[in-house]
């Protein structure tokens, strides 16, 4: 996935808008700016975090999107890492879709991406679950919201554990 810098700014603003349309209360004041953080290696990253309304006040379900983009040889930006997370404190589980430490995961498990599933939170039957790449942040919002609206909690033990294939 590749974007220009303006395209990345547009993506970030659009994702924030999409989350707010879904009723997610972002960790931002009304009208507060969104930040792209530029590192010494010129990679750009963002973090969007917010609460989903549940029966608790304040709400306790957390949805988080984090991405890291690095300059490509072609002069644009490519998504290098991502971490898309849902921590549902009301129902007591965590689901996450990750891409990071690509070389290590390829060496160790022969995969690029992995997932996490904890139920209850903090207890996982498996440290790293096999998964599929998430196309983009929009798809991540769809996937996490689809999990959140389900009336049953994820069955973490039923997911394919990467450690079992080593």
């Amino acid at each position: 996935m590749r974007l220009t810098r303006a395209g990345l700014e547009d993506l970030l603003a659009s994702l924030a808008e999409l989350l707010e349309r879904h009723g997610v209360a972002l960790d931002l004041a009304a009208g507060e700016e969104l930040a792209l953080v530029e590192s010494p290696s010129r990679s750009l990253s963002f973090e969007l975090r917010g609460l989903l309304p549940d029966a608790h006040q304040p709400p306790r379900s957390v949805l988080e999107l984090r991405e890291v983009w690095q300059p490509s040889e072609a002069g644009d930006l490519e998504r290098r890492d991502y971490a898309y997370e849902l921590i549902d404190h009301e129902r007591g589980y965590r689901r996450a879709f990750h891409l990071h430490d690509r070389d290590w995961f390829v060496d160790r498990f022969d995969v690029v991406v992995h997932e996490h599933c904890e139920q209850p939170i903090g207890r996982a039957p498996c440290d790293h679950v096999a998964g599929h790449p998430v196309r983009d942040g929009y798809r991540a919002v769809e996937m996490l919201m689809a999990i959140w609206v389900e009336s049953v909690v994820p069955d973490c033990a039923a997911l394919p554990c990467l450690e079992e294939f080593v």
Binding site: E17, E33, A35, V37, A55, A83, V149
Partner: protein, 87 residues
């Protein structure tokens, strides 16, 4: 504390908005009302999304600024406590 229902069907949303189900499906199709397509025939409208729509809460597009950091972002940092990474 009782859990709130987390989604509405298009028919339930139509009932609450006092419009037809077709109107709700049009709103979903246009993206005005966010929804989850569980299968080609099953659509769920997350309750918070419905409430935001019904209340007329229209998110304002936020400005994006760039901030400099002195360190690199490491999304896998927390995981390495479980299993140290050796490269």
């Amino acid at each position: 504390m009782n859990e709130q229902q987390r989604y509405l069907t298009p028919a339930e949303a139509a009932d609450a908005l006092r419009v037809s189900t077709d109107t709700v499906l049009r709103l979903v199709s246009s993206g005005e009302l966010p929804a989850i397509r569980v299968s080609p025939r099953v659509i769920r409208i997350p309750t918070p999304a419905f409430e935001a729509f019904a209340a007329g809460r229209e998110p304002r597009r936020r400005r994006v600024v760039t901030r400099r950091s002195h360190s690199e972002v490491d999304l896998g940092a927390g995981e390495r406590t479980v299993e140290p990474v050796t490269r």
